[in-house]
């Protein structure tokens, strides 16, 4: 029998970027907020300090900051005619655990969606005809770029994003991304410093008529104070961002940017080591009454609340809906139902560039968002007529790290071990850069999330089951954009040789094993039609109007961008409507 606590105004499931943003905004609005976080306490100053944090084995290989699979994992298969087996060890993606969530170990690459991305179905239909979307569950997001812009702008201020402004109120700015939507303000901080390989990529791309620019970065480029009063320091390019916390206050993360500014608020309560088992539905069929969780002693507790905010990692939000019976589960046989529908990922490919000895890449100097990017082949920035696919990706020469267990670039044809391999590693380590294709991922009927019939987690609940393979559309997209990337690489100065890799190459099934990216999206998507979305355009659940959904699970299909920027823009958009419209008159904010 669960112990019932006094009611709170808002219960927030998850203490990462979106959960803490919800907490600070709603606490400041006079709402008593209880944040339930699965993991424990940690703080940049005490948990991520150097030199101990600079331990590749502990954090990058043994995944010290991530979810532990014995407690929580999922099962996986490529198609519904296979038997899903548990992801026994982390690999392809790395959800976080503990205060700050995955926002602690991110790289800090922060993007905005293109205006056309948010109206993908109507945009492509208008430009090319609806048949280009045949077989794809591509949808409009239900929110436009202009509506989202103030919230994207605020997010960039919260995280102190450094970048080269490309489009200021419709005026194209030199050195920035000319394809970006109009922004109301420049980036709050200047761009990062480009390393030698990034300079070579920039020059080659510009010579070919493309539009390279420094990747927008949450690695600080100056001393900075955010709108909540958090103070951050300039990044030292130490090369330990992704998979690591930053002990220097130099990478925007949820703890220093938000938690520290709300932790003493009288309306704020944080309960650590609490595992939410389900959202409880009310008898009226229209709302939720709160959540039931296991406290740190393993006792069941019911926390009643007027508003439930779902701020877990994208996959776990979907899992929580499925085990709670929120929304209609998706049935791939009929195409009916919405929870678990439109799961998408990211289509990653790349070119490995080996330089002559006079180019010193020094890969151990780097930062998570140190990249020279171009958007010429992203979204619908290029003519898709006759290409046979939709979507695209940004191309970016990145210098994130040279941590030597994972970073061992060798030219094509090198054996995988032995003397020749050993020689190739030491000859190329200091003279190499990778150019990535960060490709979009389209939702298709056969890729989805549901509950596993066999395997359970440490709490006895069925595992989430992922059924996913790269759609044909995305394979064509990756091949096309990778071809363009290869041409640029060949035009770079001082290049000895190049090689390519493509996860979505014809004949390659998606594998859960090698790390690709922690950009799992969809499964609880937003939209304007309850038949094809879990939440309305405000992130409010159609079926339970006091449940608000946050994070990348809302994306109807995945962008050719990293999800944190877009999902934080959506979070502030949702919170704005929650504060201004919902609290004074709790109701569905849209008619079904």
């Amino acid at each position: 029998m669960a112990r019932t606590l006094p009611k709170t105004d808002v219960v927030i499931v998850g203490g990462g970027w979106t959960g803490l943003a919800a907490a600070i905004e709603l606490c400041n609005e006079g709402q008593r907020c209880v944040v339930l976080e699965r993991g424990g306490y940690r703080h940049d100053a005490t948990s991520f300090a150097g030199p101990e944090e600079h331990d590749e084995l502990r954090y990058a290989r043994r995944k010290g900051h991530m979810i532990d699979t014995p407690t929580k994992t999922l099962s996986f298969r490529n198609s519904s005619d296979q038997t899903a087996l548990p992801m026994r060890r982390l690999g392809s993606f790395l959800p976080g655990k503990g205060l700050g969530g995955a926002g602690i170990h991110w790289n800090g690459q922060s993007w905005r969606p293109l205006p056309s991305d948010l109206q993908m179905r109507s945009h492509y239909t208008e430009r090319y005809g609806e048949q280009v979307l045949d077989g794809l569950n591509v949808q409009d997001w239900g929110v436009t770029y202009d509506e989202l812009e103030p919230h994207l702008d605020f997010w960039e201020k919260v995280a102190g994003i450094g970048g080269a402004t490309g489009n200021l109120n419709g005026e194209i700015q030199k050195g920035g991304n000319p394809f970006e939507g109009p922004r109301s303000n420049p980036y709050p901080n200047p761009p990062m410093k480009p390393s030698p390989p990034l300079q070579l990529f920039r020059d080659a791309a510009a010579d070919m008529g493309y539009h390279p620019f420094q990747m927008p970065s949450a690695n600080m480029t100056a001393e900075y104070e955010n709108p909540y009063g958090a103070k951050l320091h300039g990044c030292t390019y130490c090369g330990f961002c992704e998979r690591f916390g930053c002990g220097y206050y130099a990478k925007a993360d949820p703890i220093i940017c938000i938690y520290d500014r709300v932790k003493d608020h009288e309306n704020f309560t944080l309960r650590l080591n609490t595992h939410v088992l389900r959202v409880e539905k009310s008898g009226d069929g229209k709302t939720a009454t709160g959540v039931t969780y296991l406290d740190k002693n393993g006792q069941e507790v019911f926390q009643p609340a007027d508003v439930v905010c779902m701020n877990a990692y994208a996959l776990w939000n979907v899992h929580l809906m499925l085990v709670s019976g929120l929304g209609q589960p998706y049935d791939p046989a009929t195409g009916q139902g919405v929870v678990g529908r439109n799961y998408a990922y990211q289509t990653m490919a790349g070119v490995s560039v080996f330089f002559e000895d006079e180019v010193w890449s020094n890969p151990f100097m780097g930062a998570g968002a140190l990249g020279m990017s171009m958007d010429d082949f992203n979204g619908d920035n290029f003519d898709h007529t006759g290409l046979g696919f939709v979507g695209g990706g940004y191309i970016s020469a990145n210098q994130t790290n040279g941590r030597p267990i994972n970073y061992q670039p060798v030219p094509e044809g090198t054996p995988k071990w032995g003397r020749e391999w050993k020689k190739a590693v030491r000859e190329n380590y200091l003279h190499h850069v990778g150019i990535g294709v960060h490709g979009s991922s389209m939702a298709v009927p056969g890729n989805y999330l549901d509950l596993d019939p066999t395997y359970t987690d440490a709490y006895g609940q069925p595992l989430l089951r992922m059924t996913f393979n790269f759609p044909e559309n995305d394979r064509k997209m990756a091949k096309h954009v990778l071809g363009k990337t290869e041409e640029i690489a060949r035009n770079m100065a001082h290049v000895k040789s190049i090689s390519t890799s493509n996860n979505a190459e014809a004949g390659n099934d998606y594998s859960i094993v090698p790390y690709q990216t922690t950009h799992n999206t969809g499964g609880a998507v937003m939209g304007t039609d309850p038949a094809t979305s879990v939440a309305n355009r405000y992130g409010q659940m159609w079926d339970h109007h006091n449940v608000f959904v946050f994070g990348a699970c809302l994306f109807p299909q995945n962008l050719g961008y990293n999800p944190t920027g877009p999902l934080m823009g959506l979070a502030y958009w949702t919170l704005d409507h929650l504060k201004r419209e919902y609290l004074k008159d709790p109701r569905p904010l849209m008619d079904a």
Partner: protein
């Protein structure tokens, strides 16, 4: 084992016909294995340690830079298998177990420590033990294991190879505090300076940065790192 135990003596017996025969005498007299020399293995048997020295030296043989076993990789693997990793930390171990597809990843019913123990026994039961093979024989066995072209009964050969390959790589390049990468052998080889953290004035310059390696437990004034013993246990950080 008694106080006469010597890891160095054990690992130098990895086969007269094999790799030791190709190692110049000077290399043998260097302080290989000295760090843990007087300590019995934590997990491995003497035979397993010899097997791993021979196996990992096929993956990373000696040249101008030390081989895997010379750089302490066997010590590293011993500690890893004895510790949380080998015992299944970070590994979901609920059944039922099924071989699955390569895309579904690790599906062994064994955690890495017993997996490797059983695999070594199965491999050495097939004929000439690895340590008694010549260099070509060892290379052939390693290559066949990587292709899954060795029958190990219930064990999946590619999974076994994957674990040994990853541990060897980690042992050569992980921070020396874990017992491998001895005297920063792996880091010196590639030019990784370790736990330095300030590159703001260098990042955009096309120049070499020849800093001596420095690990998380670097001993100031030396070119060495503390070991797991001299450095004490890794600080217990608060984590989620």
């Amino acid at each position: 084992m008694t106080e006469q135990f010597s890891r160095r003596a054990v690992l130098l017996q990895i086969g007269a016909a094999g790799i030791t025969a190709t190692i110049p005498g000077a290399a043998l007299s260097q302080n290989r294995y000295a760090e843990f020399d007087g300590r019995p293995w934590f997990f491995l048997t003497v035979d397993e340690a010899r097997f791993l020295a021979a196996f990992t030296d096929v993956l990373i043989p000696e040249d101008e830079y030390p081989s895997a076993s010379q750089a302490g990789v066997v010590d590293f693997i011993d500690l890893q298998l004895a510790g949380p990793f080998g015992q299944g930390d970070g590994l979901y171990m609920q059944g039922p177990f099924d071989k699955g597809t390569p895309q579904q990843g690790y599906q062994s019913r064994l955690t890495p420590a017993p997996l490797i123990r059983q695999a070594i026994a199965a491999l050495d039961a097939q004929g000439t033990p690895l340590v008694d093979m010549d260099e070509a024989g060892r290379e052939d066995l390693v290559a066949r294991l990587s292709e899954g072209d060795v029958d190990l009964g219930d064990l999946d050969a590619k999974t076994v190879f994957g674990e040994l390959f990853a541990l060897t790589n980690e042992g050569y390049f992980a921070d020396p505090v874990y017992g491998g990468n001895k005297d920063y052998a792996g880091w010196r080889m590639v030019g990784f300076p370790g736990a330095h953290a300030y590159y703001t004035d260098f990042i955009d310059k096309n120049v070499p940065y020849p800093a001596p390696p420095r690990g998380v437990a670097h001993i100031p004034g030396t070119s060495r790192s503390g070991s797991v013993y001299t450095a004490g246990p890794r600080p217990a950080k608060q984590e989620g």
